[in-house]
Symmetry: C2
Subunit: 300 residues, 2 copies
């Protein structure tokens, strides 16, 4: 928040389509700093959410209809689950102002470029982006102004994207407190598959495995969760629709990483079955080294 390099707002009107954890954090930061946009417009699927947004005072105006919401905006940010992007893009495309920048915050980038890209008018700049930040909470109440601090935002602009538009989105995320890097979309999806999507898939799965145990053991799972299981439940307490959409829209990379993990888990099972203590010790030592690297990188 410290780097208020320019008092000039980046956008005259920034429309956020979707207002969950990410969207409502951006709205709060915009209100707090004043230099993201002169006007913040928010669109969401339900009037109830929009009423809450106005109660929270984090938007200047709300619009149920996304087409109306983007009219006259020089910046538009899609903040909905990625599975909704194709329909949203179709709904807003005819209403986008010439010269506007369209960006998004989706956790999958190949699918976003596939679903949104072809619908973007030639006069509009499309800059896909992904702020890698989150908590287990969702909805307009869950946002907060420090969410992006010391976190990365990855930009995946298709070849030929207007450099001034990319620079503007980069500056927006820097003003949100984020570090910014550019990445090739398919590479982004592979990296996110291993650091985020697979860990979430595993966390959801083990919660299900525990929940399927006979009743007595299920109660004990909750009672004695502090011994490891608990750490999995935090990341498993995430938004169902958002994660459904991420899994379905990063299918190939996620299935590849899952297949690698399953091979490794089978190898571990074999070591346990046949008493290969050296193999197990080696795996734990490598895990410790990774944790140590994270601590050194101040990411732990």
């Amino acid at each position: 928040m410290s780097d208020v390099s320019s008092p000039e707002p980046l956008f005259k009107r920034l429309t956020l389509v979707g207002v969950g954890l990410i969207g409502s954090s951006v709205a709060r930061i915009a209100k707090h700093r004043g230099d993201l946009a002169s006007e913040i417009v928010v669109s969401a699927r339900t009037q109830k959410t929009l009423d809450r947004v106005m109660e929270l005072g984090i938007a200047d105006r709300v619009e149920l209809d996304p087409g109306r919401a983007v009219q006259g905006a020089d910046g538009v940010m899609l903040c909905a689950p990625v599975g909704a992007f194709a329909d949203l893009a179709a709904a807003i495309a005819p209403h986008l102002a010439p010269g506007a920048i369209l960006t998004d915050v989706g956790s999958t980038k190949v699918s976003v470029i596939r679903d949104v890209g072809p619908l973007v008018p030639d006069s509009v700049h499309f800059v896909p982006a992904h702020p890698i930040a989150g908590t287990e909470y969702s909805g307009p109440d869950s946002g907060f102004i420090t969410l992006f601090e010391n976190r990365w935002t990855l930009l995946t602009p298709p070849p030929g994207t207007d450099t001034a538009a990319v620079a503007k989105i980069e500056e927006l995320w820097r003003r949100c407190g984020s570090m910014v890097e550019t990445m090739e979309p398919a590479h982004h999806d592979r990296v996110l598959a291993i650091v985020s999507h697979l860990p979430h898939l595993i966390a959801f799965t083990i919660c299900g495995t525990a929940d399927d145990l006979e009743d007595e053991s299920r109660e004990e799972v909750l009672k004695f969760a502090a011994s490891g299981f608990r750490d999995f439940t935090r990341i498993a307490a995430s938004d169902p629709v958002m994660w459904r959409d991420i899994f379905l829209n990063n299918r190939d990379a996620l299935l590849e990483m899952l297949a690698r993990f399953m091979e490794d888990a089978q190898a571990m099972a074999r070591a346990v079955r046949w008493g290969d203590g050296t193999y197990i010790e080696d795996k734990v030592k490598r895990s410790r080294a990774i944790r140590q690297s994270l601590i050194e990188l101040k990411q732990a």
Copy 2:
């Protein structure tokens, strides 16, 4: 720490064999409260560890030889990795005082009863126990006096164990701040397999999977770890020998829970491959419900 129900120490001399996170926490609590034992004796594998224990001032006396360490003790607690228990039990058995209580803190209970039980002299009471508490740190410096507060300790006394001896170990753990419950050893091992051993196995495995990626992606795993992966590395940063021993000594229950998990992960993979969004959403919803239950039980 608040319930100092009796000023009378439970033991005249309590010997801790092993002084990692658990042992050094018990030693600190004994020093802090004064009512666990009049004298604390610590034994460890290396003189260096024992020197550190004396520096820390958490024992009255240290002994490299475990047989000498337990001489004259009315309480003996095995705090080493469970794979060392058979040898340790053989070493101390001839030196145990008649009427003494032998207990342990191992994370597997069937194996401890199998390895230690037959070596315990008839005149000695054997009360297997497992305080379910931990951090990712180990060694004599890692202990602290609040480690067991609001955590459970499970006692798994074999049939016919002296009830006064069981009550004394129960009181010891209560004075350490723990809640105490009695459980059948095989049931204990199944419950711990799902709440602790499997989550650790999975965390070690995914760290290895990430570490095996091509170099560029490995660096990015560390850089973008905040998006989920990080949560797995904390529990993966654990003691290699301790976990090797736990896995090898809870083999059957761990392999069963791992097999269930693998089936569930395959089902999730299938849902991702074939676009079964309802299946995925349902799993995430169930995970959220489990997290909610933990929060309500104040275990999250």
